[in-house]
C-alpha cells in the first residue's frame, strides 16, 4: 500500500459512538471487583454480559452482512469493540466468537451466521490460541490434528464424524458451536455442537484467567461440513489473520488502560510528601509509555483499515500491529505494576489482570518476535547465516 492510498487512520464519529456504548456497558457490568470475583469462580466468563454486548449492543453482528441479520459494518468498527474489551479486560468471548468464529464462517454464508448476529449462538474456532496466522504458506501452516471419519450409518448426507484433539482453544467453554478444522482428503471446516456426544472439553488453567482456554477432544463427534478444500483453508486463514489484528487492537486498549490507571495512581500516591508522579524519572517513563501507545494506535488503525478494505498490504499491516501492540501492551502493563509499587503486585489490585491479558495476548497468535520474522520475509529482509562458528 503506497502513501498515495493511505487509508483514514482516525476514528469516525460513528466509531466513537460505538466505543462509548461498549465502554459504558463494560464499566457498568464488569468493574474490577466483579472480574476479580469471576476468575475465582467456576465459570470465569460472564455469559449474561456477553449476551447483552453481543445482542443488545450488536457487537456480535458487526462483521456479518445485513442479509444474515448483522450490521454489515467493517473491521474498523470491530476493532473499536476489541479496544474496549481489552481496556476492560472484559470476561466475554468477543474475540473468540464475534471475530474468530464469525470470520471463519463469513464466506460460507452458513445458517449459523444469523444466530451469531443476533447473539443467540456463541461459537468458537477450534484452533490453538497460540497458532500464528499463516503468512506465506497458508496450506502448510493449517495442518490439523483432527481427522474426519466416514459418516455413521443413519447420519444425514452432510454429516461426518470427527476425532482428534486440539489443545488450548479459546472461548470453547461457553460456545454452543465449535468450528473445527479437520484434515482428511481434503482439509475441511466443520461445525460441531459442543454438547454433542463425543465432544469433551477440559478446562485449562490459563495465564490470563479472564480468557479461559480448554483442551478439546473429539471422539467420533458428529459434524456438519461448512467448507471443503481451498475455501476451508481460506476461511481458517482469514479467521486467524483477523483474529491477530483484532487482538492487536484489544492490546492497544490494554495499553491505554494501563497508562491511564498508572497516571491516575501516581498523581494520587504520595511518598516523600509529594505525589510520586512529580518525580521526573517516573514522568519520563510514563511519557515513553504514552509514546508507545500513540505508535501502537497508528499500527492498530492501519491493520483494521487494511482488513476492512481487503488491502494487499494486509499481511504486513497485521504483522506490524501484532508486534507493535503486543510490545506496547506488555510494556505498559509492566510499568503499571512497577509504578504502583507493592500494591500493584497484589492479587486484590487489578493491575495483574491487565498484565496477564497483555502478556497472554502478546503470545496468542504468535509472539511479536515471530511476527517480525514474518515481516522480514514479507518486506525482503532475509536473515543472516549462522555465524557462531566464525
Amino acid at each position: 500500500m503506497s502513501a498515495q492510498t493511505m487509508p483514514d487512520l482516525r476514528y469516525s464519529q460513528a466509531e466513537e459512538d460505538l466505543r462509548a456504548a461498549v465502554r459504558e456497558l463494560l464499566a457498568d457490568r464488569a468493574p474490577w471487583p466483579a472480574i476479580l470475583a469471576l476468575i475465582e469462580s467456576s465459570e470465569p466468563t460472564d455469559g449474561a454480559l456477553w449476551r447483552t454486548l453481543a445482542g443488545d449492543v450488536g457487537a456480535a453482528g458487526l462483521l456479518i452482512g445485513e442479509q444474515h441479520g448483522g450490521a454489515g459494518a467493517s473491521f474498523r468498527e470491530a476493532a473499536v469493540v476489541a479496544e474496549e474489551t481489552g481496556r476492560a479486560v472484559a470476561p466475554v468471548p468477543y474475540l473468540e466468537s464475534a471475530v474468530l468464529a464469525t470470520v471463519a464462517l463469513l464466506d460460507s454464508g452458513d445458517q449459523l451466521l444469523a444466530g451469531l448476529a443476533s447473539g443467540a449462538v456463541t461459537a468458537a474456532l477450534a484452533i490453538e490460541f497460540a497458532r500464528m496466522p499463516p503468512a506465506s504458506r497458508p496450506g502448510a501452516a493449517l495442518a490439523s490434528a483432527v481427522r474426519f471419519v466416514p459418516a455413521a450409518p443413519g447420519d444425514p448426507g452432510d454429516r461426518v464424524r470427527l476425532s482428534g484433539t486440539v489443545a488450548g482453544v479459546a472461548g470453547a467453554l461457553l460456545a454452543d458451536v465449535l468450528l473445527v478444522p479437520a484434515d482428511g482428503v481434503p482439509f475441511g471446516l466443520y461445525a460441531v455442537d459442543s454438547h454433542a456426544p463425543g465432544v469433551s472439553l477440559a478446562p485449562v488453567v490459563s495465564l490470563d484467567a479472564t480468557r479461559p482456554l480448554a483442551d478439546l477432544t473429539l471422539d467420533g463427534a458428529p459434524a456438519r461440513l461448512i467448507a471443503l478444500g481451498e475455501p476451508a483453508a481460506h476461511a481458517v486463514a482469514a479467521a486467524l489473520t483477523a483474529g491477530a489484528a483484532m487482538l492487536a487492537c484489544e492490546q492497544l486498549g490494554v495499553a491505554e488502560r494501563c497508562l491511564e490507571m498508572t497516571v491516575a495512581y501516581v498523581k494520587e500516591r504520595r511518598q516523600f510528601a509529594r505525589p510520586v508522579g512529580s518525580f521526573q524519572a517516573l514522568k519520563h517513563r510514563l511519557a515513553d509509555v504514552w509514546v508507545a501507545v500513540t505508535q501502537a494506535r497508528a499500527a492498530a488503525r492501519y491493520a483494521a483499515a487494511c482488513l476492512a478494505e481487503a488491502d494487499p498490504d494486509t499481511p504486513v499491516a497485521v504483522a506490524l500491529a501484532k508486534a507493535a501492540c503486543g510490545e506496547a501492551a506488555v510494556h505498559a502493563a509492566q510499568e503499571c505494576v512497577q509504578l504502583h509499587g507493592g500494591i500493584g503486585f497484589t492479587w486484590e489490585h487489578p493491575a495483574h489482570l491487565l498484565l496477564k491479558r497483555a502478556k497472554s495476548g502478546a503470545m496468542a497468535f504468535g509472539t511479536p518476535d515471530r511476527h517480525r520474522a514474518v515481516l522480514a520475509g514479507l518486506v525482503g529482509l532475509p536473515q543472516a547465516p549462522d555465524s557462531s562458528g566464525d
Binding site: L9, R10, S278, H284, V291, A298, L375, A384
Partner: protein
C-alpha cells in the same frame, strides 16, 4: 487523502494550475517572474489566505498543485534551501504578524529571495530557552522607534545566507523570565550582526554563532506584543518539531531505506544480531510513519493532537539506532570516514554523505529542535497532566535568578 476535501476541489484546483500554466510558460519565463506569478495566483501554498500566496483551501491539496507544476517543468523555490523560512518563519508570521508584515515578508520568503534563520538558543540558554540573556532596548522615534539588540546566539542554521533572523530577546529583565521576552525579525545583513561558523563533531559547520552588537531593529519588525515573545516562540518551536519529526515519507523513506538497501545489497555483511535490530527498526520506522500520517490527517481535519512531540522523540531514537546499525553493518568500512575538513554545507541533510557521517549527525537529532528530555517533560506535563517540576525560576524577576 484527496477525498477528504472532496474531489471537486482537487479537480478544480488542478484545472486552475493548468490554466495558470497555459498563461505562464515556465520554459519561456524568467524563474523569479514565474514564482512571483505563481505566488500571486494563490498557488504557492493553497492553505494560506488569498493575497498571501494561497487560496484558503485545505493543506492536503497542496501536493496535487505541486505535482502539476512539477509535471509541467515549473521552477521550484528550492524548499530544501529555505526550510526554516517555510517551516518556521512563515507559520509564525501568518499566525502572529500584522497584515503589513505578512505582505512584506511572505512573498520573498516563499520565492527564496529572502532567506530566514532562527536566533533563539544561546550558550547559557539551551533547554531553558526562556532564560536567554540577549537584550533588546527600545529607543523612541517616529513610527514606534526602534530597538537595539545585543547578545550571542548559537545553533543558527543558514545564518550566513540569511536576510532575516527570527530573534527572541529580553526586553524587560525586571519581570519573571517568560514575561520579559519579545519576538522580532532582525535584518541579518547589517554591520552589527556578525556570523561565525560553529563546527560540529561531524567536521562540518552546519550551524553558526551569531553576535549582535547594538543591532538595530525598527519597531515595525517586532512580531507580537512587547513582552509576548514567549507565546510567539512556542508557536515557532511547535512547527520546528513537526518539521523535524513529521515529514511525510513513503515506506522505507529516510534512514531505514539506506539501512535496508545495504542489508539487501551486502549479504556478506549480515549477522543474526543485526537482523534482529534491523527488523525491529524496520517495524518501528514503518509504525512511526503511520503515526505521523495519522497526525497529519488529524491536523488537516482541524483536530490537532499532542502527538507531534511523540513523532519528534521517536524520529530521533529510530534515526540514531538506524545510523548506528548501518555503521556496524558496514564492516571494516565502518572504521573509515569520508572527510573531516571544515565545510559549510549549503543545505541540511540527515541522510547525506556516508554511514560515519550519518551516525555522528544523528546524535544531534535528540538535541536540536528541543531535546528529547524536554519533549518528555512536555508530554508528561502537558499531555499526561503530571505535576510540573518544582520551579524556583518562574516567579522571580529574571535579573535576580542565579546564573
Amino acid at each position: 487523502m484527496l477525498e477528504a476535501a472532496g474531489p471537486a476541489d482537487a479537480g478544480e484546483l488542478r484545472q486552475r494550475v493548468r490554466d495558470f500554466l497555459a498563461d505562464h510558460d515556465p520554459a519561456a519565463m524568467d524563474r523569479l517572474d514565474f514564482l512571483h506569478a505563481r505566488f500571486d495566483a494563490g498557488l504557492a501554498w493553497v492553505h494560506y489566505p488569498p493575497g498571501l500566496g494561497g487560496l484558503g483551501l485545505s493543506r492536503e491539496l497542496q501536493s496535487a498543485v505541486d505535482a502539476e507544476f512539477a509535471a509541467a517543468g515549473g521552477p521550484t523555490n528550492h524548499p530544501e534551501r529555505i526550510g526554516i523560512g517555510l517551516g518556521m518563519a512563515a507559520p509564525t508570521i501568518l499566525a502572529f504578524g500584522t497584515p503589513e508584515q505578512q505582505s512584506r515578508w511572505l512573498r520573498p520568503l516563499w520565492t527564496g529571495e529572502e532567506v530566514w534563520c532562527q536566533l533563539f538558543s544561546e550558550p547559557g540558554a539551551g533547554s531553558d530557552l526562556a532564560g536567554l540573556a540577549t537584550r533588546a532596548v527600545h529607543e523612541p522615534g517616529p513610527g514606534g522607534g526602534h530597538w537595539r539588540a545585543t547578545g550571542q546566539k548559537v545553533w543558527t542554521s543558514l545564518a550566513h545566507r540569511a536576510q532575516w533572523g527570527l530573534l527572541l530577546a529580553r526586553t524587560d529583565p525586571d519581570v519573571p523570565k517568560h514575561a520579559g521576552l519579545t519576538y522580532f525579525a532582525a535584518d541579518m545583513t547589517q554591520q552589527a550582526v556578525e556570523v561565525r561558523p560553529l563546527r560540529q563533531l561531524t567536521g562540518e559547520a552546519e550551524f553558526n554563532e551569531v553576535f549582535l552588537s547594538d543591532a538595530v531593529i525598527p519597531d515595525r519588525d517586532r512580531i507580537g506584543e512587547v513582552g509576548g515573545g514567549w507565546r510567539v516562540a512556542q508557536g515557532t518551536l511547535m512547527n520546528e518539531r513537526i518539521a523535524i519529526g513529521g515529514g511525510a515519507l513513503p515506506r522505507e523513506g529516510g534512514m531505514i531505506g539506506l539501512a535496508a538497501a545495504m542489508w539487501r545489497e551486502h549479504p556478506e555483511l549480515r549477522t543474526p544480531g543485526l537482523h534482529d535490530r534491523l527488523i525491529r527498526l524496520w517495524a518501528d520506522a514503518e509504525v512511526a510513519r503511520l503515526a505521523s500520517e495519522r497526525l497529519r490527517q488529524q491536523l488537516a481535519a482541524g483536530q490537532p493532537g499532542p502527538e507531534g512531540s511523540a513523532s519528534k522523540v521517536v524520529f530521533a531514537r529510530i534515526n540514531q539506532d538506524l545510523a548506528a546499525l548501518e555503521l556496524e553493518l558496514s564492516g571494516a568500512d565502518g572504521l573509515r570516514y569520508d572527510d573531516w575538513t571544515l565545510r559549510r554545507p549549503g543545505e541540511v541533510s540527515f541522510y547525506g554523505r556516508r554511514p560515519g557521517y550519518r551516525y555522528l549527525r544523528a546524535r544531534g537529532n535528540s538535541i536540536e529542535g528541543g531535546t528529547s528530555e524536554i519533549l518528555h517533560n512536555v508530554i508528561a506535563e502537558r499531555v499526561l497532566g503530571l505535576p510540573a517540576e518544582s520551579r524556583a525560576d518562574t516567579s522571580v524577576p529574571w535579573k535576580d535568578l542565579p546564573r
